[in-house]
Amino acid sequence: MAKHSFSLSPLSSFILPRGDTLFYLIALFSILSLLIHHLSPVSAESRHFEGFDADEIDDFGDSDEPISAAKHIPPPPPTTTLSVSDPIESHHGPPPPSADPTSQVTSQPSDPKPASTSFEVWDEDEFEGIPQSPPSDSPLITESDTAASAESDPSLKLEPESEPESPKSISSYTVEIVCVSFLIMFVINYFTGKKENEKLALAWASKFATKDSIFDKNFSLLGVGETDDSPLLLKEGQNVFKFYASGRRFCQGLLATMELKSRHDLISRLYNMVVPCKDEITFEVYMNDDAMDHVVVAVAKKKLAKTMQKETTDLQRFASLVSPPSGKKWIAEELAVVAESKEVAGDMLNETVLDQVFGDKAYEKFGKGFISMHFSDQHLGSHKKMLVFKFALPDAKNMADMTRLVALVPYYIDLIGRYKLSSHARTKTDGARMKVAQEIYKELQNARQEALQRKKAEQRKKGEEAEAKLSAEALRKKEAKERARQMKKAMPKMKMTRTG
């Protein structure tokens, strides 16, 4: 029943790129090239360690303890001896020779080749001319005070054994596990939520838009197509469904828009748990121009009525809150009326409507789903004369609960189609409309004048810029021409007369 409309134009725009699509493709290729460039060191890394054993590389690079800088320092010439000077130095002569033999620092001669334990595969040509560090773990330069302490305290050893890296535990993949599981849940929820929304929309359609239902009895054309077998509902989004009906007196057509909860979207679903919202249906009735008199009325819950009066243009211009009349049956306390006049409000909320929906007792039973209704002949948009009804949708099982609310739609189409204002009310509404029309006209004129002034200012600026650009000679010529013109004007006019 739900109709999906898919467009193939994006596909064709990818095959034959032009305009912004071309830029988009360029961006795509640049990102891909950037990615390839970024990932290229992975393949290059293996070339740097040619001739090394894989296990050795891991031990070398991933050791837990810091590697001593001494290990990488090329050894000094074998004959060099260094002596550590006394802390207190004399400037008068050479320092006395140290008696302690351990204070002598000698560099050990390095092996011409590393031990077989260090690297299994050793290519002579690969490392030609590179000084080879000894395989021994002892530091190259030892001082007397550190040598003794290093033996006694194992924690002060400069070269502890490197341990192989242990496999990562599950806790180190927390982010990945959470995100992947959320995505899986999102996908599952997408399909279940989509089904729920479709089920609800179809439940409404089967109750109110099928054969012998309220809309079938009131409209000759139902559904979004032109033929009888066309789908009843148009699926605009995963949570937006539209129903169209036409072919009725007093109106051009009716468009019902179901805006359901975003059940298909897990993030929205979680948000709606904190901030609850309802499934809504909005009926827009496009009235014929000759079928609607000057009527501006809105009925809603008190809080919403106030916001509507402030924000909706036509209510702001023409209507005000109507106080309940004394000694007359009126709407439920929770509701408020915003209307152009008390007369219109009274005529629209007649006894029939009060008994059926808006009266105190009826509202408790049948008015649960009522949100608002707004009738106006001064709507902004393509259709000026419109009736707008907004109701909350019940569950798929309890769809019959909103039967009376839906029945308001054809009732008000007929009521407003036949309604005529009294002469007194008519003069008032005409005056108000004239006033508004004049205000709009003034605003338009002001806007036009501002636009003209802007244009003139721009032209003046352009002229000044052009003059500034002109060279000095051109200016001189211009001045000379002006002078000549002035002289011509100043010269006395002579008449040529022929004597004969």
Binding site: L34, D64, V175, K217, N218, S220, R248, P410
Partner: protein, 102 residues
């Protein structure tokens, strides 16, 4: 409240449904798509894994809520690309290997 005895239907006045064209600027702002692009850029540039994952999640949300294929597809695909690129650079790319110090 039922309609009068005479039939209110008028087949001669029936007009088929024509969807009103919606200008791209009148469409509601796709916040999730925008957040996805921002997170994707951050994830790819600064190598934040969480940002790349968020980009993927928000672009999935944007894709789920897509109404107008023509206008939304480009932003969503850009967000997806940035997200995937961020994940690839984070997991497959070569980064500085941090050594543990005791």
């Amino acid at each position: 409240m039922s309609s009068p005895a005479n039939d209110p239907r008028q087949p001669s006045t029936a007009k088929p449904y024509k969807p009103s064209p919606v200008a791209p600027q009148d469409l509601p702002i796709d916040y999730s798509g925008f957040i996805a692009v921002i997170c994707g850029v951050f994830g790819a540039m600064f190598r934040y894994k969480i940002c790349s994952w968020l980009a993927i999640i928000f672009s999935a949300q944007s894709l789920a809520n897509m109404r107008n294929m023509e206008n939304d597809l480009k932003q969503i695909s850009m967000a997806m690309m940035f997200g995937i690129m961020g994940l690839m650079t984070n997991y497959l790319g070569v980064g500085p290997r941090g050594s543990k110090k005791t």
